[in-house]
């Protein structure tokens, strides 16, 4: 599998998809041009004599087919297609130049929404991922030609070296183009998506197919790729299914959360925004991909338990009785009750349960202090309070972002973890924050009189507990 750019990063979709070179920066244009030219140069320089053209044609066709059906990675910036196998097989069967021709066939991949610039870049890059590892293969003592019984296991070493070189060349060229065409903030994120160990593992797995194609050539001839394609396409199918299921899952969770929020106009969209804020913090502190996913869901689901609090308590004006306060204090536990059955990270559950704890130990439901509070809960608490402050409430208007930031800073160390407050503020200052629509509700009848998330207007009870 070779990674290639398909979809521009979300925020720059326009110019890459449009395919106009005019708006690319000069350095980026030079880079894309250089990659394409280098790929072409290695093919033209040859030597073209003595190449097994039947193999090149079959494998080139394979690359075109793979390229035309490439799957988009979840990050939406990258795609992958299982054509590493074809290129690496070409290295063994036809040598570096043949492999460069096979890789260059990526130019002819037919896909909607890919601009000519990207086609050219991908073609040049894949030619290089064929040629350079091919030289590595020769350097390590690999023999070009259809392997026979005597070639094994001696062939495995050089092949593994070529596969490694292939992955490295592919990744570095791709990182380069993402870095040059992306905005500075997103470059790190893209690099993280690329360096996901699962992606790298999958890729090396696909490389192994290359050796199988080469090894079987002496037995099955040009029929080999057909047989090899089958498991590849099943893996691709599963990846596509996974992506579709994940989108469906996210949409369903978000729809159900919105249904829960409809009870109270003022908190509409709250879960969605807390989720977004928590993810911003998570990215800022460099959390791993899986944990970021988990905190995204934790943010969406953190207030589900509020449904168990009677509406008249949530909407009560004035001070609360002990019992009513206890009912509110129970909502994180009720949320946990609901989501406990969901098999995602335990961390997310802990986050939902403890998102109202305070660093100074005066929170609920358990009154944990400092580092006793799970990391997820400390992240959620910051995003939760911030969104509450920047949203309109029946008893006050929405506060502007700078004021809410000042408020976060004020409670930093007593209510919030200072590290996460700093991370959140840094992320907001760089990327901005989109709050809710500030339009007033049509009917103020069902409005809550206080917000349990709002640190500036804490719940007041008649008697202390």
């Amino acid at each position: 599998m070779v990674l290639g750019i398909r979809q521009a990063p979300v925020h720059v979709t326009g110019w890459l998809r449009g395919g106009s070179l005019g708006r690319l920066s000069l350095v980026a244009r030079v880079y894309v041009g250089a990659v394409a030219a280098a790929g072409l140069a290695f093919v033209v320089r040859g030597p073209l004599g003595g190449i097994a053209w039947l193999e090149v044609a079959v494998l080139g066709l394979l690359v075109v087919v793979c390229e035309s059906t490439a799957t988009r990675l979840r990050s939406r910036h990258l795609s992958w297609s299982p054509n590493s196998a074809a290129i690496l097989a070409a290295i063994v069967l036809t040598g570096p130049v043949g492999a460069a021709v096979v890789g260059g066939c990526a130019v002819f991949g037919v896909r909607r929404g890919t601009s000519a610039t990207k086609q050219v870049f991908n073609g040049g890059m894949m030619a290089l991922t064929g040629y350079l590892p091919g030289e590595v293969f020769l350097l390590l003592g690999g023999e070009v030609g259809t392997p026979g019984q005597s070639s094994f296991p001696e062939l495995i070493g050089p092949f593994a070296g070529a596969a490694l070189a292939h992955v490295i060349v592919n990744y570095s060229l791709l990182c380069g183009v993402l870095w040059l065409t992306g905005e500075p903030g997103s470059a790190g994120q893209q690099a993280r998506a690329l360096l996901d160990p699962r992606v790298a593992l999958t890729e090396l797995g696909y490389c192994a197919f290359g050796l199988l194609i080469a090894a079987l050539w002496s037995v099955l001839g040009p029929f080999t790729p057909v047989l090899v394609l089958v498991p590849l396409f099943v893996a691709r199918w599963a990846v596509a299914q996974f992506a579709a299921q994940q989108r469906a899952y996210e949409a369903t969770v978000s729809a159900l959360c919105q249904a829960v929020e409809t009870k109270d106009f003022y908190t509409r969209g709250h879960s969605e925004r807390v989720s977004r804020g928590s993810v911003m913090i998570a990215h800022e502190i460099g959390m791993r991909g899986e944990r970021v996913e988990a905190i995204r869901y934790a943010g969406m689901l953190h207030d589900v338990g509020k449904l168990g609090v009677p509406t008249q308590v949530l909407q009560k004006t004035g001070k609360l009785t002990d019992d009513e306060f206890a009912a509110i204090q129970l909502h994180p536990m009720r949320g946990l009750d609901i989501v406990r059955e969901i098999g995602f990270l335990d961390e997310a559950l802990a986050g939902i349960m403890h998102h109202h704890e305070r660093i100074d130990g005066r929170g609920y439901p358990m009154g944990l202090t400092g580092d006793e509070i799970p990391e997820f809960a400390r992240v959620l608490a910051v995003a939760d309070a911030f969104d509450s402050m920047t949203s309109t409430r029946s008893y006050r208007g929405a506060r502007p972002v700078p004021e809410a930031i000042a408020e976060l800073r004020r409670w930093s160390g007593t209510q919030f973890d200072p590290a996460f407050v700093d991370a959140f503020v840094a992320a907001i200052e760089r990327d901005g924050w989109t709050g809710p629509d500030t339009a007033a509700p049509q009917s103020a009848g069902a409005a809550a009189a206080h917000d349990h998330d709002d640190p500036t207007a804490p719940l007041r009870i008649i008697e202390s507990l």
Binding site: P153, T202, Y206, V234, A235, V239, T252
Partner: protein, 458 residues
């Protein structure tokens, strides 16, 4: 901590608390219950195993190195079992390894001379070794699944081993390939049939439906397994035993991708099951209502011969059928929608469908939820209730909606009671309304389930 978590719910009673205890059990698919059909299968496989081991031992094992290599691969594959949708389990790497071993013609320089019995013995021993760690950590052994895989491999080996010594087969790949491909397909079919028989037996599904379901679920992975088996059998000729190691990596990739897919599918279902309970926590419906209705609806659907994708949609819709109650200001006493007026029912259904439609991927589920409040025959029964929507005779609600309507009414009437007479009375009451309200076919299926006692009780 546990003492503080007990939520106070509207209308909660001792009975509902008792039901709460068993509410979380995996639904629909009884795990590891060996009934007569399955034990017969396992015994048959056991006899086959003993006979094969005895014969192999008597004749002397051939090419011991190959046998050990493939046995290790099979054990490894069995260790990395894969959960598939619908509580299935599969061991792609083990199956591919066993099929490849069955179809070896030549390993490196020497021809493969092992017998079909040896294939069965090696496969079975490999599977058992690979299953031991599962047992050690307390996971079920899944003997019937292992037996099905062993029989499938035995079929392929039984046909191919005698052919393998034929020099013509070894010489021309274009002769060997079609034979091997059809044997792989045969093995796949055998496994699907056996699995379908097991499910028919255990879930009282219809065999035809179960077989189609099984084949649909197993097709993508089965194709990959079959192709990989062919690949390794051919590759062993050039690469010798190195092929065994090399080939494991690519199928591992397929398996990793597949595992993630199966994982998120399972999480999805778990999440909907969990979130459907918001109506319970909010005091809108009785504890366990959504879970009971969905379990009952799926049973009825299976009784009526619905296929798995439809059953999944039915389950989602049944779980979320009351989500529309969130739009109500005050919960209905006891959450029994059967007791409120038709217009209110319709409004709840409509709102629930709107919520589900927001997800954009569950439109058919939304449609099922929307139509659950429609009577079976809008023309008959109470004509005023038609609400002037002009849904005529030819436009009856989808089967899933009719099932949920009946299951919901049944649960509202019976609740957590385990009294058989009460359930029978509830079915009778629904039967009285089959002229217009409930689909007679659905009520009949419900009646059959009740009389088999598969609805009530733990």
């Amino acid at each position: 901590m546990t003492t503080t978590t007990r939520p106070r719910r509207c209308g909660s009673s001792k009975a509902s608390e008792a039901v709460g205890e068993r509410r979380y059990e995996p639904r629909g698919f009884p795990r590891q219950v060996l009934d007569s059909g399955q034990s017969l299968l396992v015994i048959f496989a056991g006899v086959l195993l003993i006979a094969s081991v005895a014969q192999t031992a008597a004749a002397g094992p051939r090419d011991v190195r190959d046998a050990i290599a493939f046995g290790a691969l099979i054990a490894f594959g069995e260790l990395l079992r894969l959960s598939l949708p619908g509580d299935r389990e599969s061991a792609p790497i083990a199956t591919a390894g066993a099929l490849a071993y069955a179809m070896l013609i030549q390993v490196g320089n020497h021809p493969a001379r092992h017998t079909a019995q040896q294939v069965i013995a090696v496969t079975a021993i490999g599977m058992i070794v690979g299953a031991l760690p599962h047992l050690a950590v307390g996971r079920p052994a899944r003997l019937s699944g292992m037996a099905a895989r062993l029989l499938a491999v035995a079929c392929a080996a039984g046909v191919f081993r005698p052919l393998a010594s034929n020099p013509e087969i070894g010489r021309h790949w274009w002769l060997a390939l079609p034979v091997m491909a059809s044997l792989v397909a045969l093995a796949w079919l055998v496994e699907a049939v056996i699995e379908a028989l097991i499910r028919t037996d255990a879930l009282r599904a219809r065999f035809g439906v179960a077989l189609v379901d099984e084949m649909r679920v197993q097709l993508p992975l089965g194709t990959a397994v079959g192709a990989s088996a062919l690949l390794i059998a051919f590759a062993a000729e050039v690469m010798g035993l190195a092929a065994v190691a090399m080939f494991t990596a690519p199928l591992l990739v397929t398996q990793v991708a597949y595992r993630r897919y199966a994982g998120i599918r399972a999480t999805y279902l778990q999440t909907v099951r969990a979130l459907a309970r918001v109506t319970e926590i909010g005091g809108y419906v009785e504890t366990g209502h959504s879970a009971r209705v969905s379990r009952l609806a799926v049973s009825i659907g299976r009784e009526l011969g619905m296929a798995e994708p439809e059953l999944l949609e039915l389950e989602y819709a049944a779980l979320m059928h009351d989500i529309g109650q969130l739009s109500l200001r005050d919960p209905i006493p006891g959450g029994a929608t059967v007791l409120v007026v038709r217009d209110e029912q319709r409004r709840i259904a409509e709102y629930g469908a709107e919520v589900i439609q927001q997800a954009k991927v569950l439109d058919s589920v939304a449609e099922i939820v929307r139509r659950q409040s429609d009577p079976y025959r809008p023309g008959a029964g109470s004509t005023a209730a038609n609400g002037g929507r002009g849904r005529g005779r030819g436009n009856e609600p989808p089967l899933s909606s009719r099932i949920i309507r009946a299951a919901n009414a049944f649960d509202d009437l019976v609740g957590t009671s385990v009294e058989p007479s009460r359930a029978a009375a509830a079915v009778e009451r629904l039967r009285l309304d089959t002229a217009g309200e409930y689909d007679p076919q659905v009520v009949d299926a419900l009646g059959r389930l009740v009389s088999r006692r598969s609805v009530l009780g733990p």
